[in-house]
């Protein structure tokens, strides 16, 4: 690698920036200023942030510089990051892009924040998102949508649209997002960055504002696979504060970055090539699959018949859990509160009426209905049984295959406003990403090409806790193709 002259610092990867920082060819303050300048110049067009923490970033950068000079820096020390605004940051607004929490300042850090802070990272700000992570386009943010840096008339995907767009556009080097049904991977695909959803239980959920507790998982958004592995090294691991976090030891994920996939068995689940999939997307993915075959992997089609039920099961399970998770927003302890009301119940209902946006209300309604007396068995319980079938099918597939290859999304980024009034169409943009949340398994989206200048993501799935396998295939493909080096025209 040749860094002379130093390219735009905001375009560096973690690995590149870390190398420069450790060799003192750039300081964290310089890097941070470059990123903040970039924010100033593009944020008006993108709106990737809810909050930019400029002063904090600079003081953290100074602190990082002193750690760097003392020589005990880690790869993340001094590197600017965007944190999705549903991950609690102590003393810093955490809004979930909702009216309900627009003034909420948590008195605690999420576990992932504690972990990142121990590396002396630089927080550039909190990333814009679909309200409470419900959405696939970032249009459901109460603060207005984030735009796609590849085409600002289009959506960046969601719900981690702000973090994905920000990383793609150089407003930070990497980001943390959350993925409940594809909220890391789908925007990663739309913005041509790398997005990893770890195995459920691999990364602590403590401090991640709950949407659907049995599906939520925090994951990295990064410019390349190496960076994703570096971030995983920092955030993965057991947390006694999260009873669903697994006590398994955490590997060094960078050790799985081997550009060699010869002999690996890759399955292509045909159900993922759904009706309504854009021809361009299909073409890109088929080309990518051919490439993997050329690299020595064996490719075979596989059928996962229950996948066609995944969307319905997901849109019952996730809203059901959400309906309970969002019941705490009552205007009493924190958050938005309507005082002008007839009585307590009226105040509560008005607080929730004006505090929540349309998609959140729609999902609360859906989930409340699916759990309610008389419908529980037909909806919630049925969906949880279908969930069992989906898990079983994945398990069976992973007996035959090392990984499965699918498109991340059936479409390229769509136009702002195109689907916002049609919830079912919007839900369909998650159709390729949500099955693995239902099964709890890991998946990554990596850049796989473009259709008319718009990004297409490829998804790689593996069995639980096989993040290393996913990273290995992703790294090999990335090294062989170089799609990740493309930068948006913004």
């Amino acid at each position: 690698m040749n860094f002379e002259p130093v390219m735009n610092p905001y375009d560096l990867t973690i690995a590149e920036a870390s190398h420069l920082l450790k060799s003192r060819r750039i300081s964290s303050v310089e890097l941070t200023r470059a990123v903040l300048d970039r924010v100033s110049s593009v944020e008006g067009k993108l709106h990737a942030f809810v909050t930019v923490t400029e002063n904090l970033a600079l003081s953290q950068a100074e602190k990082a510089d002193s750690r760097l000079s003392s020589g005990d820096a880690t790869p993340l020390t001094g590197i600017p990051v965007i944190i999705k605004d549903n991950i609690c940051t102590r003393g810093i607004l955490t809004t979930c892009s909702s009216q309900m929490l627009r003034n909420f300042v948590p008195p605690y850090d999420a576990t992932v924040m504690e972990k990142l802070n121990s590396h002396d990272i630089v927080l550039v700000g909190k990333g814009n998102m679909d309200e409470f992570a419900m959405g696939s386009s970032n249009e459901y943010s109460t603060f207005g949508p984030t735009r796609n840096p590849w085409d600002t008339e289009r959506v960046p995907g969601g719900s981690s649209g702000g973090p994905a767009a920000g990383v793609a556009a150089g407003e930070a080097v990497y980001a943390l997002g959350s993925d409940t049904g594809g909220s890391v991977r789908q925007p990663a695909g739309f913005c041509s960055v790398v997005g990893l959803k770890p195995t459920y239980g691999r990364v602590s959920r403590y401090g991640l504002v709950a949407f659907a507790s049995s599906l939520d998982q925090i994951g990295p958004l990064a410019r390349d696979v190496t960076d994703a592995a570096l971030v995983m090294n920092a955030i993965a691991g057991h947390d006694p504060r999260d009873a669903t976090s697994v006590p398994h030891p955490t590997p060094d994920y960078t050790r799985s970055l081997i550009p060699e996939i010869k002999g690996l068995r890759l399955g292509i689940p045909k159900e993922y090539f759904v009706e309504g999939m854009e021809a361009g997307v299909k073409q890109v993915i088929q080309t990518a699959i051919s490439r993997l075959e050329e690299m020595g992997a064996t490719i075979e089609e596989v059928s996962l018949p229950s996948m066609k039920y995944a969307l319905s099961a997901y849109y019952i399970i996730a809203p059901s859990e959400a309906s309970a998770n969002l019941a705490r927003y009552d205007g009493v302890k924190y958050g938005f509160s309507v005082q002008d009301a007839e009585n307590m119940w009226d105040a509560l209902e008005k607080t929730r009426q004006y505090g929540f946006g349309i998609e959140v209300k729609r999902r609360i309604m859906l989930g409340t209905h699916a759990l309610s007396s008389g419908y529980y068995d037909a909806y919630y319980l049925k969906a949880q049984k279908v969930r069992t079938l989906i898990r079983q099918e994945f398990n069976q597939a992973f007996e035959r295959f090392d990984a499965l290859i699918t498109p991340t999304s059936p479409t390229v980024p769509f136009k702002i406003g195109e689907k916002v009034e049609d919830p079912l169409q919007m839900y369909l943009s998650d159709v390729c990403t949500l099955p693995i949340n239902i099964a709890g398994i890991p998946g990554i989206s990596i850049p796989a090409g473009f259709v008319n200048g718009l990004p297409v993501g490829m998804q790689i799935l593996a069995k639980p806790f096989a993040e290393e396998m996913i990273l290995r295939i992703a790294f090999a493909y990335e090294q062989a193709t170089g799609w990740h080096k493309q930068r948006p025209p913004i």
């Binding site: 066609k308 019941a327 859906l366 209905h369 909806y379 898990r391 079912l424």
Partner: protein, 95 residues
């Protein structure tokens, strides 16, 4: 299945969610469409299939009965819309 207006109102009450007239109408048609799509699940044979509530097979995740510090009162109340004398203040709660 089609949801009637009364059902929408009932669901909103359960969820303690105030809805405008426009929202009620919108949800009535949208939720009906969505729920109708979900009916596809009924074609799946789930006889003898146990439901999955947790995807990771773990059990007995318990902690020791150890005391950890609470937060200071002012931090607990810092985000409160209304407070009084160390308490959260709410509209009268009557049965």
């Amino acid at each position: 299945m089609k949801l009637g207006r009364e059902e929408i109102e009932h669901i909103a009450r359960l969820a303690r969610l105030g809805l405008s007239e426009a929202e009620t109408e919108r949800f009535q048609s949208q939720l009906s469409d969505i729920m109708e799509n979900f009916d596809i699940l009924q074609e799946v044979d789930t006889t003898d299939i146990l439901p999955t509530a947790h995807v990771i097979e773990m059990e007995n995740v318990i902690r020791d009965d150890k005391v950890a510090p609470s937060l200071p009162q002012d931090e607990i109340l810092a985000n409160a819309p209304r407070q009084e004398g160390g308490y959260f203040r709410v509209r009268a709660v009557l049965e």
